[in-house]
Symmetry: C2
Subunit: 567 residues, 2 copies
């Protein structure tokens, strides 16, 4: 096992090993119970559809593997359930913790020899040894599956706890070929649980997933403040929150544009000494409003409401100042990678990239932020330092940034290459070619009704009801108008933009706008109200989710629609 | 009359007087016949609706005046037609050329004394004197009407020939109060006609208006070439084409950012000596596809099809180089005005402005173009020099540029302030506040089906029909996908982007993309096919014109839809 740990270590592109990484190496194998994780996962999920397709595979990285399982389960359901039935209705959640006396015992070294299609692909889970060779090939997500080849899948499933479902575990048991030698099963203590050090969160944040933590506030709270209070700001983590000791924190910067890499390391204090730039910017998750899109057709992903968005004043040095000091000159084809200190069990950090031209543009306002609304970043928002890339999808605003690489290539990370991209509504997981679409950078124009909530009953006040929401356009475009209709588009009411940022230049408007509209309403009326924003490029929202549905459920910027009853 | 000419001259902000301006001063008054202009206007117009609202006021500047006339005609129709009937069914088109013996004679000096609401507002047309005081006030377009106050409207109507309709002339005669003194009626020869020197155009261009000349090629020709041949490139003129002597041509540049204006004059040869920058850019009229929007509800404006767009390689010095040499430094609030050498009868040039930040951005690629697809500009496209502002609506790509002003203020021109803006579908001419919307700069994402044409009958080839079109997004966004559907959005077919520009940086993609899609088709089928483009900000087109209808009929970027029958 240790040798695999070393192998994994060699994949770590960041030089600073933090506590989180050490934890992952300690957690080689861990026996979990269905009670502990299964029920927790239930509690934390917004998803009440009960559909395997939408409950499972909600998280990046595990999604393709799980998809495969779901698909195979469907295809082979007769076989699978026959086998499951023949195992005397055992508690499937414990199958991997139980010795199968009818099967041989293997050492971890023997398992480790089976790590390719040629040798067969084996994995362990609990004390079970599984041959998943037939399961891996041909699928586009096989690269992720292969990270566990010849090794324990337990640490992966610590992160991607959606695997702890009856269907997935039942399928896994059909691949069982043996038992792991007792000496190789390393039981870990709770302090080695990578989730043990997660920060406390404000109870107002409603989780769409607990591990990794993903949560949004109620929509109605968003419209109360132009700058979203830090505690109410949505959290979208892809991995456990790293614990960073600020005295040991170092930001490594590597400029790899020529044969000779230029490198530099900046401590936290070094960053504080650089000229401080403040920028008010909205950050939005690429999956914001996915829940509405899911109503059209199921999507694998977190079921976000309209509140995976917030607006804050961020402060820190300009990235362009840091890079210019290293002699970087902008060009049209290079990229800047950001690697987080949050890592997966293979020590692969969360990573993403943006075009160098955006990073170097003084009007692009990319900063290395250490402050959010005048306070040091909280752990959930990237303490001690995160990247703020105004106008650009949240996933490129990398938190806990540990390394920056200026490169001729785009980031090869899963999140850059095989996620956060959109496709035609008719593209499915069998036909998708992730290379065919560009990584989301700037976000399209959108708006959402935040108050009242869909389904509310409310009283009219002097013949009107008050509707509030936000509107935003990525790319620095300013929202110039929000239109509402309560009669299917026959008449439109222009909202008041009552909380907006003023004085930024054209194409440099990074903040959302908060708006209010009065809609004529009579007691007894059932109204369907739509909102639609227009930005200063005169782009506007598409009307329906149906026509922009995409298999990743991203950039969901259709009209916002609520139904209310007037009392 | 000469004194009025001098008065007008004082309004000319450009110092170079060209032949066109001299002509306007010569054309103080001109008696036209209905046969000469009315029929020509008919021939040149695409508009066959016969509706006054859509045939009249098609042109900027005259639109508000005419709107007033139409409105008044509707309100007062009983009175008006009663009066018209009482005039013995006279040929109304000649009424202003005929002496009314029942009315007094006035000199032009007397008419000139009535140039304000206080004194009464008189105008002359032919030999008629009219008191239009009751007609002018309160209307938002009264500033344009007032340019003719105390003067002859003939030269205005030489430009805005839509006034030569029975309805407008009938209304005008109701305001008749007298006859112009014979000595003050100056008949002009044909060579003084400001339209006499219009260039020859290729017969492929289908005019939506003859004077000023506005024309587009058939849509099917657009998709034949990535670079639109110069002769086929749509023409959108706001005024007569100026005649410019290249030896006398001078571009005046005034930087008015401080108390002390910095000025410079560049001859054509000076511009040729500056570093030459080439940029491939699509130019699109703000009113492109207005014809489709008009199907929802009438709009005052030229009824453009989908071909008020073209793509060309433009060449000339960078504007930023010229301005930097004058010490200009970019900021977020200033503007760059462009004044054309094309002028209206008051010698007011066509003018527009763009943000200084766009002009100074080296990635903005704004140039002073003297070449189009490797040839000197033709007269219709701005000979000798026009501005190319990539990604930005055609109307800011000022042709025949004679003066550039760097200013703290946006251009005050009619075209910047009171046109080329969009509003809510429920905003009408009674409620519109032009100050409430920003001038269109970058254009939104769009696509159009160019072949087959709507209504075509065509044969399927091996079970498919081939559909072709263009897609473009302003602001430098690249079109990443064009989706088509022939079943109302239930299934989508991704088009091949077969003619695209490669290798430009993200946010710096100024060219359109030409695409082809194969749509499954069976003999006997009636198909409705939609196209929809997505750009790399993942903005996409709104679905219907209904929800983006606006009173100026601009930025019409809804799904493109055609109906065809498969034989």
């Amino acid at each position: 096992m240790l040798s695999r740990g070393v192998l994994h270590l060699s994949r770590v592109s960041q030089k600073t090993i933090n506590k989180q990484q050490l934890r992952w190496f300690k957690v080689n194998s861990r026996v979990t119970s269905h009670d502990e994780y299964g029920s927790r996962s239930q509690e934390g999920s917004h998803d009440t559809s009960g559909s395997l397709l939408s409950t499972s595979a909600a998280l990046v990285g595990s999604s393709l593997l799980t998809y495969w399982i779901v698909k195979k389960l469907k295809n082979d359901s007769a076989t699978v359930y026959a086998k499951a039935a023949s195992s005397d209705q055992q508690d499937i959640s414990k199958a991997h913790t139980e010795l199968r006396k009818d099967l041989p015992v293997y050492s971890m070294d023997q398992v480790g020899e089976h790590n390719s299609p040629k040798t067969g692909i084996w994995v362990t889970y609990g004390i079970g040894v599984y041959d998943i060779t037939s399961f891996v090939p041909k699928h586009p997500g096989s690269d992720k599956v292969m990270l566990a080849a010849g090794s324990a899948i337990d640490p992966f499933w610590h992160i991607f706890q959606q695997h702890n479902t009856k269907e997935v575990l039942t399928l896994l048991e059909t691949f069982r070929i043996g038992n792991l030698r007792e000496d190789d099963v390393i039981s870990t203590q709770d302090q080695d649980n990578p989730w043990a050090a997660e920060p406390k969160r404000h109870a107002i944040l409603k989780p769409t997933a607990q591990r990794p933590f993903n949560a949004e506030p109620p929509a109605s709270i968003l419209v109360d403040a132009f700058l979203t209070p830090n505690e109410f700001f949505y959290v979208r983590n892809h991995l456990p929150v790293p614990e960073v000791d600020i005295k040991e924190y170092e930001l490594e910067i590597d400029v790899e544009l020529s044969d000779k890499t230029k490198s530099k390391k900046l401590k936290y204090d070094d960053l504080r000494k650089l000229p401080k730039h403040k920028v008010v910017a909205t950050i939005m998750c690429g999956g914001n409003r996915r829940g509405e899109m899911m109503e059209i057709k199921p999507i694998k992903g977190l079921s976000w409401g309209p509140s995976a968005v917030g607006n804050a004043e961020w402060a820190g040095p300009r990235l362009s100042d840091v890079l210019k000091a290293m002699g970087v000159v902008s060009d049209e084809t290079s990229h800047v990678h950001f690697e987080g200190l949050d890592v997966d069990p293979t020590s692969t950090p969360y990573a993403a990239s943006i075009p160098l031209s955006k990073a170097m543009d003084p009007r692009g306002d990319v900063i290395l932020a250490y402050e959010m609304n005048g306070e040091p970043l909280s752990r959930d928002h990237g303490y001690p330092v995160r990247v703020i890339v105004p106008g650009v999808v949240g996933s490129r605003n990398v938190k806990w940034v540990g390394r920056i690489v200026v490169s001729k290539e785009e980031s090869g990370s899963h999140w850059q290459q095989n996620d956060y991209k959109s496709f035609s509504p008719s593209t499915d997981w069998d036909t998708v070619d992730f290379k065919s679409a560009p990584a989301i950078q700037y976000m399209p124009v959108t708006s959402a009704i935040c108050s009242p909530a869909n389904g509310d009953q409310l009283k009219a006040d002097n013949g009107f009801i008050t509707v509030k929401g936000y509107a935003w356009s990525g790319g620095g475009q300013e929202v110039i108008r929000v239109d509402l209709t309560a009669d299917g588009g026959n008449t439109w009411i222009v909202a008041d933009l009552d909380q907006v940022e003023k004085g930024t230049g054209r194409g440099r408007h990074w903040s959302w706008s908060l708006w209010t509209a009065k809609i004529p309403a009579k007691p007894g009326q059932k109204l369907e109200i739509w909102s639609r924003a227009v930005d200063d490029n005169y782009n506007s929202q598409p009307e329906t989710f149906k026509n922009i549905w995409n298999l990743r459920g991203v950039v969901g910027n259709a009209y916002s629609r609520i139904k209310v009853e007037v009392k």
